[in-house]
């Protein structure tokens, strides 16, 4: 019996050990001196970066890049878990939204020795990835801007030409020609347009402008282009500001006007929007909305809507006399706990080089951060029959356009957690915009810690 017991104990011990070591092996995510593990979230971009990896491997025999693609929602949860468990990748695609948080948590490796120069990339992209401490934590990878996607069949039926749609202007008082166009594109159940007498705002068949929800604290594809073209900025400083400005009267007047479009029946109410089932692009695809503000990362999605003949227009001119769009750029970051920092940095340097970015550009799925990479992407989109000038003009033309970054500050997750319900309360429950004063105070209190 004793022998049996011992055997049993030994066997279970061995099993437990093998499980633990198995986990450890799995946990290391295949990292070694010859392998670099890399995570990204966009499945469309996977083939482009696989091609880049082959390029690096050719230049560095013996070095192997292992790419893992994870969906956006799983990506950040798994990355966080990876940081905690020590199973993080060597290199990962980073978003400005999470940059501040990861920099504060000190999980990123400084990349100062890569010699990244601002001038090698589109304006502002490289500078955004320098932390509060003055060290660089990301190498510019790509960029995106926002434009107005429109169903050209609907605009044609409404008598609106591409030229007219590209010369719209707006103001927070009467909405300008932009609101007039959106009203005209709106059609109720009885076929009456939004600017016609007898229009039934409670029974709308096609909305002039699609809804992308309340927009959290950034309003990237909602209200941000309006607020910026009215002269407003998220923070008191372009980078690492210490005070948010949601209490600004300018900002609040923009928000009041923007969500007011829903009250007038030109934009769906918040209750029609759902982040899972009914985003702006779905509304356009379903023929429930004629136009939608959306980002460059959605170009291929909109182009694929059969029978809709989607085209794009520039964001409208605001009270400052300029058009505005957020210009957000992703970067590649190296994790501090990487087991192969030398290999990881080599890969990041290659990802940030013209050699790789031109390859990525040729796939026509994203605008790479270098100028040559962007040109390659524009050519690739053109080859597919897609005109992307509404997205590239704001980057090239600084006279007529204002581009701004996603808010770069610490505690961005706290800001989002407070701003999301605050904006939804205004949009969905009719709460006054002045309620943002209190929310702003709460956010700034956290920021002052």
């Amino acid at each position: 019996m004793r022998i049996r017991l011992r055997t049993l104990v030994a066997a279970s011990g061995a099993l437990a050990l093998s499980l633990v070591s198995g986990c450890a092996q799995g946990g290391a995510a295949g990292s070694s001196a010859h392998t670099v593990t890399y995570w990204l979230w966009d499945a469309n971009q996977l083939p482009a970066y696989q091609a880049c990896a082959k390029g690096l491997e050719k230049e560095n025999p013996g070095l192997n890049v292992k790419i893992t693609q994870l969906g956006w929602s799983d990506y950040w949860t798994k990355l966080t878990a990876g940081f905690i468990a020590g199973t993080q990748p060597d290199v990962f695609t980073d978003h400005i939204q999470n940059f501040g948080q990861y920099a504060d948590l000190k999980v990123l490796e400084p990349l100062d020795d890569l010699g990244i120069k601002d001038t090698d990339y589109q304006p502002g992209l490289a500078a955004n990835w320098v932390g509060k401490d003055g060290h660089r934590y990301g190498a510019p990878k790509d960029w995106d801007t926002v434009a107005l996607f429109y169903n050209s069949k609907m605009t044609k039926a409404a008598g609106l030409t591409a030229e007219q749609l590209n010369s719209l202007s707006w103001n927070p008082k009467d909405g300008g020609t932009f609101e007039k166009a959106v009203a005209h594109l709106t059609i109720d159940r009885n076929g009456k347009r939004g600017d016609e007498p007898g229009f039934d705002k409670n029974n709308v068949k096609v909305y002039g402008l699609a809804s992308n929800g309340g927009g959290f604290g950034d309003g990237q594809t909602q209200w941000s282009n309006f607020a910026a073209s009215a002269g407003w900025s998220y923070l008191d400083k372009p980078r690492w500001g210490t005070k948010y400005q949601y209490d600004s009267k300018t900002f609040q007047s923009v928000v009041q006007w923007y969500f007011g479009l829903a009250k007038k029946g030109y934009m769906p109410p918040l209750s029609d929007y759902n982040v899972q089932s009914n985003q702006a692009n779905t509304q356009v695809a379903a023929g429930k909305a004629a136009t939608a503000f959306d980002g460059a990362w959605m170009i291929s999605t909109y182009a694929g809507f059969k029978g809709r003949d989607i085209k794009t227009a520039l964001t409208p001119v605001g009270p400052t006399g300029k058009r505005a769009t957020m210009m957000n750029g992703l970067a590649d970051s190296v994790t501090k706990a990487s087991k192969n920092k030398a290999g990881a940095k080599k890969w990041v340097a290659y990802l940030a080089s013209d050699a790789c970015q031109k390859v990525v550009g040729r796939y026509g799925v994203v605008f790479p951060a270098t100028k040559a990479g962007t040109e390659a992407a524009v050519a690739a989109y053109r080859k597919k029959g897609i005109d992307v000038s509404s997205f590239t003009k704001p980057v090239a033309d600084k006279k007529d356009f204002r581009t701004f970054s996603y808010p770069i500050a610490s505690y961005s997750a706290d800001m989002t957690a407070l701003m999301q319900p605050a904006m939804e309360d205004i949009y969905g429950n009719g709460k006054p915009v002045s309620s943002l004063d209190e929310t702003n105070e709460q956010i700034n209190l956290i920021l002052s810690q």
Binding site: V107, N274, K288, A417, D425
Partner: protein, 321 residues
């Protein structure tokens, strides 16, 4: 095998010197074999005990400790005393989350228990078909996330087939998951749909234990089905019903996945149930100390409710026999 070879004390020798002399030897053997049993028992208990300590006891104790700290998981925890609890008491979102959670539990458990009881009684009194029992259980075979997504698509205000039908019959579309008033009842009913079959089967198993002759006797006395339900079924099912209630209430308080996929806590915190708020604070905002404090509060609330339910329903006693 071991149990059979060791005699219980009552079977030990009852008289005679030879037999008496053999007593110590027998005892030694007993003790020795008992030791063997103990080790074997310990070995068999070990995996469960290890699981209990590693996955329940230790995390609970550590969670309680962390609730007194400021902790972001990646840097060492910093002791802050009762700060997290003070913040919790003054946090309006915590209280609104608790209120929303209670609202969800009341609707979810109320509707689910009544519906499950009705299904269980119908299954027992009308049919013994195993196929029907299988059909009743079908929604439970689906994962919560899939069920949530399917209902989200059905109920979408603008595009959902449910709202298309509502609109086709001339009624205004209902923002089931996008309106403050509708969202919680809708999520509660989605989960009723998924869990009612399972709950009904648990109750059905309880009904099987009620002796059939009681119903026969009642029928002889001229009792109606309604009367038999209230006078026989309900009193004798009470202990099972109580246990089912305790289990489902605890499960209901932990609602998370359906909220995560259908509303993500919105609109404007209207469905930000406690578990979702805890998750967001911990994994979104890296405030593990505060999230732990709220988890401890949830533990206290659930323990209190469970004890209260146990007492009120006399779950440990049966009226049978």
């Amino acid at each position: 095998m071991t149990i059979a070879s060791s005699s219980p004390p009552s079977r030990l020798p009852v008289g005679g010197a030879a037999k008496a002399r053999s007593k110590p030897r027998t005892r030694r053997t007993d003790v020795g074999e008992n030791r063997g049993d103990g080790r074997l028992a310990a070995l068999f208990i070990a995996p469960a005990l290890l699981g209990f300590v590693v996955f329940l006891l230790w995390p609970t104790l550590r969670g309680i400790y962390l609730s007194f700290t400021r902790f972001n998981l990646l840097t060492p925890a910093e002791w802050v005393g009762l700060d997290n609890y003070v913040r919790m008491v003054h946090d309006p979102i915590f209280w609104s989350s608790l209120k929303v959670t209670v609202e969800y539990v009341v609707i979810n458990i109320g509707v689910q228990t009544v519906a499950a009881l009705a299904i269980a009684v119908l299954l027992q009194r009308l049919t013994q078909s195993a196929m029907l029992r299988g059909i009743v259980l079908t929604p439970y075979l689906m994962s919560n996330v899939v069920a949530g997504l399917v209902w989200l698509w059905i109920l979408d205000t603008q595009l959902g087939i449910g709202n298309e039908i509502i609109s086709a019959v001339g009624v205004d579309r209902i923002p089931f998951l996008a309106d403050e008033t509708w969202a919680i009842p809708t999520i509660a009913l989605i989960n009723v749909w998924r869990h009612v079959g399972y709950t009904a089967l648990l109750l059905f198993a309880g009904l099987q234990a009620i002796p059939g002759d009681m119903y026969e006797a009642a029928r002889v006395d001229g009792a109606s089905e309604w009367r038999m339900f209230w006078r026989i079924t309900m009193p004798l099912l009470r202990p099972v019903l109580a246990v089912v209630l305790i289990m489902t209430v605890i499960g209901s308080f932990q609602v998370f996945d359906t909220v995560a996929v259908t509303t993500a806590g919105g609109p404007a915190n209207a469905t930000n149930v406690l578990q979702y708020y805890i998750y967001g604070s911990a994994f979104g905002r890296f405030q593990f100390g505060y999230a732990s404090a709220m988890s401890v509060a949830l533990l206290v609330v659930l323990s209190a409710i469970t004890v209260l339910q146990y007492r009120l329903t006399r779950a440990g006693r049966t009226d049978l026999g």
